[in-house]
């Protein structure tokens, strides 16, 4: 899922300081799961902003809505009838949702309440870590399910560097060496012979550095 965290409150307050009525829109998908922008977090942000304004002698009217997702037109459409009543929308979705919202409702400023960080998952309750960088050429089948593009600081494709020490990356002792993990997993799978096979030179054209990406499925277009 996409993992994000809430921006500092003073930054959000800075966006809306001249507003009297705002619409805070949450998202029921990834940002709910990482406790950043779901219905609960919308309520907490609404309360915090109202109090911050009251403290300065101003009143802020806040409407709270949580959509199923903000990256699909059908769900964004649900707020069409109420959007014009507000001075601004504060979107608690990931960067994708904020952009879709801003594109759909162009007559009203849309501000992000979150900093979107990475594609990842929960290691345990309250701890999320990055697992995928969307390189577009998945090699997880060859690396025993561990991604060296994401988890190796140098994105090496054929084994660890000289900085790998006791299973940890030289950048930080808390970061495991991805290639150590891969070797250990290949051993457990009795596929250590695969380690000797060189991966073919990576086609980076499908990665973000080649420009923003798009998929078109003609079979699904209407």
């Amino acid at each position: 899922m996409i993992v994000a965290e809430r921006k500092p409150l003073d930054e959000i307050i800075g966006f809306i300081k001249d507003c009297k009525k705002i619409l805070i829109v949450g998202c029921n998908e990834c940002v709910t799961v990482c406790y950043a922008g779901g219905k609960k977090e919308v309520a907490i942000l609404a309360s915090a902003l109202k109090m911050a304004f009251l403290k300065e002698g101003k009143e802020l009217e806040v409407k709270e809505v949580t959509l199923e997702r903000q990256c699909d037109q059908e769900y964004l459409e649900e707020i069409r009838d109420i959007v014009d009543e507000y001075d601004a929308i504060v979107s608690m979705a990931c960067g994708v949702g904020v952009q879709f919202m801003a594109e759909k409702y162009q007559s009203i400023p849309v501000y992000p309440a979150l900093n979107t960080l990475f594609m990842g998952g929960a290691e345990e309750m309250g701890v999320w870590s990055e697992r995928c960088q969307g390189c577009g050429q998945c090699i997880l089948g060859e690396t025993a399910g561990i991604c060296p593009i994401t988890r190796c600081a140098k994105r090496l494709l054929n084994g660890p560097c000289g900085g790998s020490t006791q299973g940890h990356c030289e950048i930080n002792k808390d970061v495991p060496c991805a290639w150590q993990l891969i070797i250990d997993r290949l051993k457990a799978l009795r596929r250590l012979d695969d380690y000797d096979k060189l991966l073919s030179i990576k086609d980076w054209s499908t990665e973000r550095s080649g420009g923003p990406r798009k998929i078109v499925r003609e079979d699904l277009q209407q």
Partner: protein
């Protein structure tokens, strides 16, 4: 509430939003929670809310959590006195002050 594990951040925020000068959450002694770890969850949420209250300028010191055995009446009243003294020393919450001012301003329109 059946357990301080049911206390959520929004409950605490709403209390302050409605003008509470101070809020204290009282749970079972650590290690003696009827639901095992409810009071530990409550504690973490209280700590998170204290940070939020600091961020918005209301003051996290207006919110505290205490752990008291259900049968310990004397400690309960001691904590009540302690919290009361602390909040009196801090003075009224800035939110309450503004809510009162708005209410008076609204009233003056009708006079």
């Amino acid at each position: 509430m059946p357990c301080t594990g049911r206390v959520d951040v929004i409950h605490l925020m709403e209390a302050f939003q409605r003008g509470a000068d101070g809020v204290y959450v009282v749970g079972c002694l650590e290690g003696e929670c009827h639901y095992l770890t409810g009071n530990l969850r409550g504690k973490k949420r209280v700590l998170y809310t204290k940070q939020l209250l600091d961020e918005i300028g209301v003051g996290g010191e207006r919110l505290e959590m205490y752990n008291i055995a259900a049968s310990d009446g004397p400690r309960f009243s001691e904590v009540a006195r302690e919290m009361d003294e602390k909040i009196r020393a801090l003075g009224p919450s800035p939110i309450k002050t503004m809510l009162q001012k708005i209410h008076v301003d609204d009233l003056s329109i009708h006079v």
